[in-house]
Subunit: 235 residues, 2 copies
């Protein structure tokens, strides 16, 4: 399975709604090329600008030998994306593949823990996350915050996570370059690439391990939940 | 405001339900001492073994000059705690203090993102988190996973977080020593102490900053939520 970045078909950032639309109209070319790769036996998850009768979406597709299995439209748009794209109007779907159950989200979607929790509770083994995370200054020697969020999301939900980010800079916008593969216990299996630059981040993941939420003899990440008691209040 | 660890009154781990009960019976002594400190003008949040007519609880109290403001009983018990304590049966409460709105949770509670999300949505400015996190092997040069979870929880919810852990080891059980204060953007303001040992972790926090969930010109961590679309499904 190969995960490519957010808007891998056209680059990031886009200048205007017109450019987003024009990229979207050419988007089918990218899907065609990814289908050719998928025909060789790999599963491709990649972001693209999607043209639809009712708007242009910041989407990602999961493509395998049988074709486009599903398209997810980003639910939470970041900054100027709000000027370029329509937000998705459908809940994300899980895709059963020969590897395991794959969920998709895009970049800023990761900042909504209810979304990722629900994907995990619905049976996701791995969350594929195309991203384009603008660089933010950070303390020396620390990973980008997006890597921390990826690790925590994997750990809290007992799922694997594969995040592919842009790197270096495009049109003057520098990126985090925080492409990582995270295990179902939250630790990094691979990535980020050296100096957060270009690179291939690869790991073997036994996705079945994500179905075991037991932690030690007496705990279970899901069975230990007490959802009826999560509504807090003032004394 | 001072945050002390989980079961600060009696130590961790406890050997048996009998010991937990006997510690709880002596627990009022700790509350008395913390009240004396609080009388001096500080707010104390500390973990203790609580004796109640219906059981013994792994609790923490928020104490200020006006007395015990609230007691929270841990909702999610870890490992052998299940043999020693009854789980809490009430939702956590928020406490209005002169510093801001304080929420409390204990250790493993942090692994339930629905809980921390609801505390934030209910108006928490800071989550105080007494912990006793057993040491787990980790990659060289990385913080304990609990620190990653604390950072992510603060970042995703735009709240401050003050976690006080045990350190070194007690009765042969080594601890993470991951005491930290995290800002509302997820970065460490202070801690962990050198070599994850004994130490005083201090920071100034402007808790009002936690009420601004805006991020840049066009985003807001809470207003951007799309809760009606979080129920995922299979295509």
């Amino acid at each position: 399975m190969v995960v490519l970045p957010e808007l891998a078909s056209c680059g990031y950032p886009l200048a205007s709604a017109e450019e987003a639309r024009s990229c979207a109209e050419k988007g089918s070319l990218s899907l065609q090329r990814w289908q050719e790769a998928a025909d060789g036996g790999i599963t491709v998850i990649a972001g693209f600008s999607e043209s639809a009768p009712d708007g242009v979406y910041n989407s990602c597709a999961l493509i395998d030998q049988s074709g486009v299995r599903t398209i997810y439209r980003k639910l939470h748009l970041w900054d100027r994306e709000k000027l370029l794209f329509s937000p998705g109007t459908a809940a994300p779907v899980l895709v059963d593949t020969s590897f395991g159950v794959i969920a998709m989200a895009i970049c800023y979607d990761l900042e909504f823990p209810e979304l990722t929790r629900n994907l995990a509770l619905s049976g996701a083994d791995l969350l594929a996350l195309p991203t384009a995370t603008p660089y933010n200054p950070r303390p020396t020697g620390t990973h980008p915050m997006a890597v921390t969020l990826a690790m925590a999301t994997a750990r809290l939900n007992g799922i694997f996570l594969a995040c592919c980010d842009h790197c270096d800079s495009e049109r003057g916008l520098p990126f985090d370059g925080g492409s990582v593969i995270v295990s179902n216990n939250g630790w990094l299996l691979a990535g980020p690439p050296p100096e957060y630059g270009e690179g291939l981040v690869m790991a073997d993941c036994d996705l079945e391990a994500a179905r075991d939420k037991k932690r030690g003899e007496r705990n279970d990440l899901f069975a230990d939940r007490r959802p009826l008691l999560y509504e807090s209040g003032r004394p």
